[in-house]
Structures are given as C-alpha cells and as structure tokens.
Symmetry: C3
Subunit: 472 residues, 3 copies
C-alpha cells in the first residue's frame, strides 16, 4: 500500500537517519503540544463572534484556499467548475461537484504543502485516515459536511481543540470591528483580537482609495487634506483598534520602499494624490512615506509593525474580472530591503520600544540582506517564511539562510497567515517538525547541545512569537 505506511506518519518531516531521528523526536516531543500562538492570519472574526457551523466540505477546504484553486486551475480546471462564485452571479458548480474534481486531481498535490495541510486537517478534525481519492470523494464529502454541523466542529470548539492560546485576525482601517466588539463582550478579546491593516487608506492604487480616505476623515473628524490631519486620523483609528485588543499593525506593500520626506514634500504629495494630479511615482512614494509614518506612530503607541512586501497582485485580469481578488493570481517579486528600508530604519531603527517585523517572498535576501539587517538593528525582527515558502523546504531554506547571521533570537517564531481555519494546527505542526529536524541536524553535527536545542525549539515554536508581538 502506498498510503498506509506514509499517510501522516508520526515521523513525517523528521530526519531519516536513525540517531538524528531520535534527537528530532525528543525535540519534537517537547514542542508538539505547546499551545498555538497565531499572531498573524486571515480567519474571519464573525466565525468566532457568531460561532455558527461552517458549511460543507468544499466551503472549508476548496473555495477559500487559493493554493488549491490555483493548482487545479493550472491543470485546466475552471474556477466555475470549482464552485467559486462569479462576480456576475452566474451559476457555478455545486460544492459536491467541485469536491469530486479536487479528488480527481489530488495526486497533483504530491510534494506540495497543500497536501500535507489537507491530510492533516482531515484526520485532525474528522478522523479520516487515508488520502482523498476519486473512490472516497463522496463519502468524505458527506462525512465532513455532516460533522461540520456538530457542536464540536464550531469555530470556538476548533480553537479549543487546537489549543490556540492567541489568534489575531486582520481588518482594514475603516472596519467597524463589530465582531471584535462582540468578542470583547463575550470576554474573548484577549484571546481573539484584531490587527490594524490600513492598506485601504495608505495605498493610492487601491480601487476605493479616494472614497476611503474621505470616509476616514469623516469617521475621525479630521481634515484629511492636511498631512497632519491625515496622520491624526490614523492615530485615532489605531487607538480604536487597540481598544478592541489589537497590539499590531500590518502593511501589505508591493515593494520594501520607505521614505522620509520633509513636511512640505509630504503635504505636496498628499495634495497631488487627493487632487487626482498624481505623478507616475506618487503612489509608490506615498506608500513609502506612510510606512515611515506608521513606524513613527508605533513608537508612540507601542503597536508592533508588520511589513509584508513583494506580492504582485491580480496578475490575471480574466480572473479578476470574472471572480475577484485573492484567488491565486498573485505572484511574488524581488524585494530590495537594504535600500528600501533605509529611510525608516535610519529614522526609527534605534528607537526604544519600536518593533518592526519584515516578511517577504524573495528568499535571495534572507542571507544577503535580512539576516544582516536584523543582526544589527534593534527594532527589526524577521517574520517567518511567508506564503509559498511556508512549506517544509521553504522553512529549511529560511533557517539555513537566516540563522548564522541573525541568530535564533532575531526571528519572530512562526505564524500561519492563513484563511483556512483547519490549516492552523497543520501549519504549526509542519513548522515544529521542520524546526526540530533542523536543530537535530545541528546536534548531530556537534554544533549545538541537546539542551540548547530544546530551548531553541521551544523559543521558535512558542516564546518567540509572544515576544515578537509583545503578547503577555
């Protein structure tokens, strides 16, 4: 049999050589059951505020997972046939029909983290013990869909089952935080919190930017035509988010560029942008300056700043027009942290209590730029491998490139950055296994003692995230 001996084998992702495996198992025993800290992700707050059942198997595993959709699309399956809603409302396939397609193509995912995550999720939540395949597609669909109606599969029960100690969602600056207010009323706001992600009012290329910036002015009673008023509006919204539990901000930007303009230049820039008279580089310059402004506000209010740089969004207009954003056509690009972050770091890199976490999709800067930067600037820590690199090989390349120059203590631990609730324990499991495997190889190479390795394993799997995000 080709599954029985490998389907979620207890030693998966651990080293093959027996005495290194022994060490890795010991290390993994020490971290496997630690609570989960999930300080960055994209689960939906209403799941936890309302705690309602989550739909059917396709709603859970297929339509919200852009990793899965894109791979199936690359093999000629249409988004319609995968049941992804069309923007024009035209009919698309049923969940069950889409699920059968996933089953037919499940071998396409061999070697990918998607398969590890789905296998893990299906066993962990539904007790499934063999991989999805055409012959069991309907059976699994019904089994999962039925179980999802049970109380022990509601969102809060799943958080408990996964031992999630802390989880943050992400909301845009204009979000009313209704669900988080509900969570606060329910006494859950120290466990489930939000993150301030003001891309909707910091990115002039955002489709609704002009409306949004006007709205935030009204909401905060500020003159957003003046630079100071616009910054004050952020200050007020950040405070509002903190009242709902937020301790961090997040900034999704196409490049790592930051800027540190004079007051006059900032005002001129804002005026050009709001008047529709922007120059070709103005959007990029505005985003760049806003990163530095957000750093300045973090120095004031203590919110941990996250920068996610280097994704080119919506590269297929056919998909964007037919179905919308975040469905698989975003592609990584190179980033330039040394030049890009220099204005921000020269201004705030030595500031007391400032903390910035940097994420990117360009592995070439790990050893060349990010590890050297984090090994110098007090404010900077390195976010875990992001997106396509949140995978066994990606994690290994990350540690290989970062550790020698940054050490382990300039790393921010792990976060899952997922929209798929069930993949949270699966992703942390992969990280923990890969960390233990990496450390076990160091022990075997006699460059790390076992007790030190156990300390570092715990740091990378639990403490580092709390420390990086200043979670008490």
């Amino acid at each position: 049999m080709n599954f029985s001996d490998t389907f979620l084998h207890s030693d998966r992702l651990l080293p093959a050589e027996s005495h290194i495996l022994k060490t890795a198992r010991e290390l993994f025993d020490g971290v496997e059951n630690l609570p989960i800290i999930s300080p960055h992700g994209h689960t939906l707050p209403h799941w936890f505020a309302d705690n309602q059942p989550m739909g059917d198997a396709a709603d859970l595993f297929l339509t919200p997972d852009h990793y899965v959709l894109r791979m199936l699309f690359s093999h000629g399956v249409s988004y319609e046939d995968l049941g992804v809603p069309r923007r024009n409302g035209a009919k698309v396939a049923s969940g069950k029909a889409a699920w059968r397609i996933l089953a037919d193509h499940y071998h396409r995912f061999l070697g990918t983290p998607s398969r590890l995550w789905i296998d893990h999720s299906m066993r962990w939540a539904f007790g499934i013990e063999a991989p999805l395949a055409p012959h069991n597609a309907d059976e699994y669909f019904d089994l999962i869909t039925n179980q999802l109606q049970q109380d022990d599969c509601r969102p809060l029960a799943l958080l408990d089952k996964a031992d999630v100690e802390y989880i943050a969602t992400t909301e845009f600056a204009l979000d009313p935080l209704t669900h988080h207010a509900q969570l606060k009323q329910n006494g859950l706001s120290s466990r489930i919190t939000t993150t301030y992600r003001p891309d909707d009012i910091t990115d002039p290329d955002h489709a609704d930017f002009q409306d949004n910036i006007r709205t935030v002015g009204e909401l905060t009673n500020q003159d957003i035509g003046s630079w100071d008023g616009m910054i004050e509006a952020h200050r007020i919204r950040r405070s509002f988010f903190r009242q709902h539990g937020a301790s961090a901000t997040d900034h999704g930007v196409p490049t790592a560029r930051t800027a540190d303009l004079s007051d006059a230049a900032k005002q001129d820039l804002l005026t050009r942008i709001l008047s529709g008279d922007a120059r070709p580089d103005d959007s990029e310059l505005f985003r760049a300056q806003m990163l530095t402004e957000m750093a300045g506000l973090s120095c004031e209010d203590g919110m941990v700043m996250q920068i996610h740089a280097g994704s080119r969004r919506n590269t297929d207009p056919h998909l964007m027009n037919g179905f919308g954003a975040n469905l698989g056509a975003d592609i990584p690009t190179p980033v330039d942290p040394v030049n890009g972050l220099e204005p921000l770091l020269q201004r705030y890199g030595n500031a007391e209590n400032f903390r910035v976490l940097f994420f990117c999709l360009d592995e070439t800067v790990y050893a060349r730029e990010l590890a050297p930067l984090a090994g110098y600037w007090p404010a900077l820590r390195l976010g875990p491998p992001w997106w396509f690199h949140d995978s066994p090989r990606g994690i290994t390349r990350y540690l290989d490139g970062m550790v020698e120059t940054a050490g382990f203590h300039n790393l921010a631990g792990f976060n899952d950055d997922t929209r798929a609730l069930l993949s949270i324990p699966a992703r942390h499991d992969v990280w923990r296994r890969c960390v233990c495997s990496f450390l076990a190889h160091m022990v075997a190479g006699r460059t790390l003692g076992k007790l030190d390795a156990a300390d570092i394993a715990r740091w990378l799997c639990y403490d580092a995230a709390k420390d990086a995000y200043q979670i008490s």
Copy 2:
C-alpha cells in the same frame, strides 16, 4: 586505487544512507531502462540522414563541447591548442595533440558534470573502464577513433543502442530542412524531427537579420515590410516545419520580456527596424513582441512553444573574432519572468491548447517566480534545469525550488539540450539518478509513499516530456 571504487559506480549520485539508498535503487530500477525522449537538443540532422562515421575522439568529445573547451581555456590552454578551427583558416593543433591536453587536464573536471558525462560516454560507447589520464591518452584516442569507424558506432546505431524513442533537432527559420526531408523519405521522421527556431528572423541584433528577413519574404512570397505579411511568412514557415515533423518552436532570447503592442505600434516598430532607423530599445521590443506573436501562432497551429531566456552571448570578442560563436564565452544573466512574461500570459495564458515551456539560467526565480507562475497559468510548464544547471546539484536545486509550489505535474520532464550525441544517454542517466535520489529522500522523510514515488519517477523520466511536447 582511486578510480576502481568510484569510476561510474552503480550507485553513483544515489543517497549514501543505506535504507534511503535501497529505496532509490528500487526507484531507479523502474526508470533506468525507459526509452529516451529527447525533445530539445542540438544534434545535427545530417548525422542521422547520412549516417556516416563521426570522425576521431577529439571530434566527438572535445571540439564540439563548449563545456570542455571553456574549462581548459580557463586554465590557460588556447583554443588553437585544442584544435578548434580558426575563422581565418590558420593551422591549429591536431586532434591527437588536443586530446593529450584534455588528458593532462582531466583532473580539472573533478566535481563537474562534464566528467560524469565523458566517463559515461566512454564506457557506454567504447567499453572504457578507467578515467582518461595522461598515461592512457594515446591508447584511448586510438581505440575511440577506430571504433568510430565501425558500423555499430554510426549515428543511427547509437540512437538504437541508447533506446532513443524520439529526438528533435533545432533549425533556423530559413533552413531548407534537406536532411529532415531525407529522414522523412527514410521513414524516420516520426522518430527524428526538427524544431522551428526563428531567431534568425526575430532578432534584429542577429548579424544577418536584414538579409534573412528579406529572404524569408521571398521564400514565402510575402511582403515582410507589412506586419501582417511578416507574420504570414512565419505562418508559412511553421507549416513547412510541421510538414517535416516539427511539433515545437524554440526561442533563444536574452531576456524574458514580452510585449503586446497595438497594430499601429507593431507596424511602426517593424518599419523603423527595416529602415535602419531603430531606436535603442527597438531590438528588445521587437523580440518581445515576436514572442507574443509566436504564442498566437501556437494557438493556431498547436506547436508547443519553448522560451530559452537569459544567456548573454559572445562576451569575449577575442574568442568571437578568432573562432566564432558557441564556444564557451556565453554567460547566464538574471531574468525577470513575472514582469517579462506578463503581456504574453495575460493574452494567451488561458488559451485552450496553448503550451509554453520556459527555461532560464537564473535559479533565483525557481521558487520565487517560476513555480508560482506555473502553479497558476494553464499554458505554462517548467523546462528542466538548463545548461550549467543540468548537473547533479543543479537538478537537486531545481526540484527543491520548484516542486512545493508547482507540484510535479507542471514540470516538463527532462531534455538534454546537447550538441554531443554520446552525452544524451549520459545526461538522461544523471537526471534519472538525481530524480530517484530526490524522491527517495521524500520517501525517507515520510512525505511520499513508494508507489507514488515510483509513479512520479516514471513521469519525470519519460511521460512528462511526451506530455509537455504533445508527442504521441
């Protein structure tokens, strides 16, 4: 002895650890003797059409192999002394004298794939059981040169011996395909075919571009001064190539840039180029637009499109002036597939039955750009590691960077891309061993079952190439 235990050891390139080795051997047993699919390469069609003996040992192993020439040159040996013909006809060293130099320097190739390929070729074709060295140089030269006169060393016999099921050569757009016509007459055209490589009429920087474009106009009776006429000329030549068995096109370009200009802009561009009134960027822009045009014609006629991007050609004018092109002074450069391919993919990336295979020499884009692109666009598959990266470590880095995001089924399998006939089985052998080694490590890490691994091994070593090139 330092050879006897390692010269082409049966476990070479397989994992060292005994139980992973066992798995790798099992996988390799399943693929070692599969027929060879060689859908991209630079062997000469007259070899197969005429089927004459191939010269002496230096003609076979030294003068046509730019990997070997360049390495010897880097150690101070001149091209004259290696017997490479001078453009001015001045006398150069004899084959035997050159061969002795290769033998003297053969230790320079330790650790390189060239040595693996030559060792393999010498044993496979000539029964040689120890590496070339000064003390056996003359003996080997005579042995090889004599055997080359035998019938069982003629080109078609070697194809049979290597179990080559399918091989494609590459011809420029103006090529009369005389040898392929002969092959067709001989009933060999379904096994030995050509590839349409129109760089001679798509690259304005080509030395003879103006003459070539005029010639293709005459040949096809088209007005190549009009954009539509020029495209029609391609359409006609592609049809001519297909009549001789071609199922693919190939495009060697310095960058990955594509373009999608308006009809008017295309005509203006062509007019400027033909009138000698080109702007600095026009050559690059013409090549960029022509890639998109070729994609459009592939949508019409079903030919699989190959793009080989990122080689800087003829970087040593001394070599170019003295000896000519393709002798070792071409150097890889970075490529930018995300931005470069966007116009082409946005236009044809979702087109039915369109297939484009992308090759480059910049490994930094494997995980960052190519795997994400291929894991989305239906039209795109990833060519195997090219040129300097067609090597054990290069193959391993390729699989490491590609598989997690693209999966195995967006890969185009292997092709040898060689001018050296005897290196065909050698190169496929290296690929097959490295694939099995990679998969055996996955089995050992419990992320792949053995049966799945065996399926993927066969896919990567045989089926993927047939599927990618739509070879029936």
Copy 3:
C-alpha cells in the same frame, strides 16, 4: 550537561552518518595540521613589528569584533556599554563590565560562526573547556587577561603556535609602511607582508579623497591633475609596497562595475572630480575606471588583484557619528558581475600572468555568474565566501554553487579576512572541516574517489591559496 558533549567536539561540522563521517575524518586528518596561509586579512602590522602584549579579554574578543558588537546591539545593548570608544571621548564601559554583557548574551550566538570562533579561540589560546556564561564571566576575563601578559601570548608567539606560514595585512596607498619596514629589518617580511589597498585615492566618496590625492601627488612627485600622472603615482606606490613584500592589491568597492574609457574621457572625468564639479555618476565611474587601471598595472608588475564588491558602508548615521566606521552597520548588497566586470575582462581577462580574485556578498551570483565567468576567463579566480558567508552553511552553499561549473581549480582556497588575531586558526579550522565534509559527501555519493578527495582537500586548504596569490 549540554556543553560537555558538544563544546568543540572533535567531530564538529563533520557529517553525522557514520561511514561518511569516517571518510571525512580521514580527509580532515590530512589537512587539519597543514600550515596556515592567510593572504588576506586585517590584523595590524604593529602587533607583529612591536610584539607587545595585547590588552585584556575585551580588547581581544569584543571591541574589535564587529560581528559580536552588532549582534549584541541588535538585542538592545548600546555600544557605550560594550566599551567601544566614543568619537567625542565620552566615557564608556570598562572591559570587564562589557565582558559581563557578552557573557549574559552569549546564548544569542548559538548557531552563529561567532560562537564557533570564540569557543575555538578560548580553548586554543587559553585552555578554556566550557563556553562563556554569566557564572564564569569574571573568571574567564581574569584568566585571559593574565595570560595575555605572558610571552607565549604575544603576537609572534601566537603566529608560531597557529603555524601561520604566511600572513598579509592591508594598508592604504598613503601608508608609510613603517611597521612593515621594521618587519623587514627583523627578517620577517617574507612571512608577514602588506597589501596595496588604494581605496583612499581611488574612491572620490572617501571623506579625505581630495586631500589624499594631493598627498599622493606630492609623495610621488607626480602631477595628479593629469590622468597619466595619477596613474604613475599608483605605479610608484605599488612599487613601494612591493619593496615591503606586497604581492597583491585589494579594492573595496560598492559595486562590481568596471569601465574602459577613452583617454580623453578619463582625463575629463578626473578633471571634473578634482575641480569639485562632478556629475552624479562620476564617483562610481571613477571607481569603475580605476579597477580597470589597476588591472592594467597588475599586468605590468604582476601583483595579484583582489576585488571585494558589494558592501554598503555605514548604514546607520547614529553609529557613524557616535563611534565611527567598521563597527557592524555595513550591509551586503546585490552585485552584477556579468555586466560589471565585462569592460575589465574584455580588456585584460586573457592577458598573460594577470590574476584577479573576486569576492562578493551576493550568493545568487555564485552558480549563475561567478562560476561560469571563472570557468572561462583565464585571469579570474573565485575568492572564498566572504564575511557573513565565511560560516559553515555559507561555505557549503559556496561549494554547492561554484564547483560544478568552475571546478575546484578555479577557486582561490581560503582566507580569513579577519581583524581578530585569534580567530585565524578558528576560521581555517571551520573551512577545513566544511571542505572535508563536502568532499566526504561526494565520496559517499560515488562521484569522487578518496584519493582525489584527499588531493582536493589539500588544494582547498593550502595549495590553492599559495597558487592564487602566487606565494612561493
């Protein structure tokens, strides 16, 4: 205990798998005790000329080591508290107080080469058998400080103890070489020599450039306002350096750019720069042209040229203003060797007896550009991994990326490039272990015989450096 089994274990950095370990040990036995060739570094010549005791433990291990300072700074420790002298003379912490901080933070260095080097140095020079920690900080400080006063810890005794056969320091073009003159008088100049590093008169961005260029004109009695005079001044200084034993030059440049301008353009460039009328790109262009000029002078006088490209200097103005340069805020950047070196290589890459060694901090160019360049151009050899990449994983990535295309014989062996005297044997030890580990894996993979591996180990650990730097 977590140290006793790992503190400088005799098998550290060697492979874990027993039969590969056996091979690695055999290879390491053959190179462990070879004399040290240290042809590039930044030890101070007065240490050897005066041969006085070297201060206290912090003077030795902390304040001169920018790797250590930067890491501590990244964890919130100030340079004042580390005892680094302020430019304004304000009081800073004592050596002993600073040392305690290092001890408190010593776990931050787990996984970094700094820890390997310090552990090695402390045992090698002072017999210390357990890692630095808070509980032993004072004891170690006193022990080291006391031993440093003994004759067997004076600089020349340490060179003897480390079996340093050859060591080069680095001096700027205006340096009077007083200490090297003393070393010559002491009969030591063939063992301890200098290197011509004319950045002070080739980099217009150097703070004292205008003064320096005037001074070199006076010193050599040349009109440095004329290009030929300026070059003649270099010729004279190079000769002066050679009289003091120098056989190499070194050039620290932000990029790999070279140029090959006409005589008129060169003169115009110099005139603009000296008149303070420089254009934005002139500094870069001047450095680029001067690299080519230095190559030309190397063709004349036989000095081996070294190019160290790609460090962005002094990226934290706060540090620069408060404490000065070379303290940890220099950051690597990408380099572009293919385009950058082309003018120099096209002019001198085939010149007889010219030798240029290239170093950079951008690992992405190893396999893509540097190995292909070195595998072609006779003049070019590849410097060892530099700076942050002079580490176990950095060394492994270097060999992985370089060897298949460049072979082993286009590599320049190892140099330690250190300011920290005691780290010289430590760094060579790490290189030798990593080389043997790499080669043992090749032997295990049956692609290299043991005798060949032993030859290559010796080449990489000893002969290659002598050959690259033409040390007799």
